[in-house]
Structure formats: C-alpha cells, structure tokens
Amino acid sequence: MEMRLRREMSALSSLLTMSEEFCRLNGLTGPNRETIDFVLEELFTNAVKYGSGDPGEILIVLDRRQSELHLSVTDFDADRFDPREFPEVEVGEPLDARHPGGLGIHLLRKLADRIEYEHHDRTSRITIYKRLE
C-alpha cells in the first residue's frame, strides 16, 4: 500500500487513516497496530517539523512480507537525517533534567528490528523493518 501526502501537519490524519486500513486488510491489531502508528507518526511529523518548509510531498509505503513489516517514508526535498546516528537520549536522568526532545526517535529505534537509511539528491528515505508479534 502506498500514499503520497503533502508535507504538512494536517495530513497526519490521512496517514493514520491509511495505517488503520493497512492494519485492517492485514488483520493487524494490538501491539502490531500501535507500533505501525507510532513509527509512521514519528517519521512523518519529523519530516514536517524538520523538512524544507516547502509544500512538497512525502511518499509512504507499507508492506507486509510474511511475518515482517516494511514501512518506508520518503521525503523528496530533505537534508540528510539518519535516525541511526541520532544521539542517545539519557532516559535515566531525574525529572528536572528530562526534556521531551528526541524521545520519538529514541523510541523508534527501540521498537524497530532494523532501520535502513538512504539520502541522495535531497531524497531522504527511512525504512523500518519490524517482525510481527
């Protein structure tokens, strides 16, 4: 399943509707669905927040291959951002020192089994691989 969305926060509802339909067609419920939503929402909102600012398109591709999910988000006008290189969030710090920034990418890495990243000619593609629970 694939969909092209405008790079703007108002398109998030369409993304989550697409995810719901993908899960329904593939019989995915519970933690599998929550993980898919979390991954897609995080990658898409990051693309909007840190993207070029122009009203470009984001390509979302969702694929189930037997017991593994492949979820990819492609931004066609983006600086390089490899989530695998993002600094670790210090989750053991006391409340006073905690900040929400970076938590989404931190969790994305925890939830994914494998992450691939490509960047060339300002096209940035993040692919998440996740075995079904």
Binding site: M9, L12, P31, E34, E41, G92, R98, P100
Partner: protein, 94 residues
C-alpha cells in the same frame, strides 16, 4: 478519536488514541491541574511521542508544586513505550 474527562473520584480518564492531532486536548486538561491526580489509561489504546511530551510537562509542572500524577491501567504497548522512555523512573505507575 481521543477523549479526556474527569471521573467521579477526581481521576483523569483517557480513552481512544492520543496522537499528535489530539494532543492539545490532553495538554489543556493536564497542564491545568494544580494537585496530585491519578490518570487512568484503561481505555487508552495508543500514545504517540507528542502525548509523552505532555505527560512529562505535566509531571514537571506539578513537581514544582510538590505534586505528581500517577498512571494506572496501562496496556502492554503503552507500558513498554513508557519503560523505554525511562518514565517508569519518574512516574508512579500502577
């Protein structure tokens, strides 16, 4: 769809899916708290990182007043997400 309301004993009841499109609803209620409360997750299916940010901001705000929120009845996915975030060290989770 996401709903947030106050229960009969003053507990905060969350239901549905707390994604980034719904997070302002949660922010309005939680950041207006001025005393310790229990937040009941029993009908909450999903929370995005934007929702985690509101929980953290609420705990920091209340902490400055010597108060806190306590999180109860989390499903396994949300419990895992909070654990990976280290929130089980800065929230009481029942």
């Amino acid at each position: 769809m996401f709903e947030i309301e106050t229960g009969p004993d003053g507990e905060i009841l969350l239901s549905g899916r707390l994604d980034a499109t719904q997070v302002e609803k949660a922010r309005e209620v939680l950041l207006a708290l001025d005393e310790s409360r229990t937040v009941d997750f029993s009908k909450l299916e999903y929370i995005a990182s934007a929702g985690l940010g509101v929980l953290l901001a609420t705990q920091k705000m209340l902490g400055s007043k010597g108060c806190s929120i306590r999180l109860v009845n989390l499903n396994n996915h949300i419990r895992d997400v909070l654990h990976f975030s280290g929130f089980d060290q800065i929230f009481e989770i029942g």
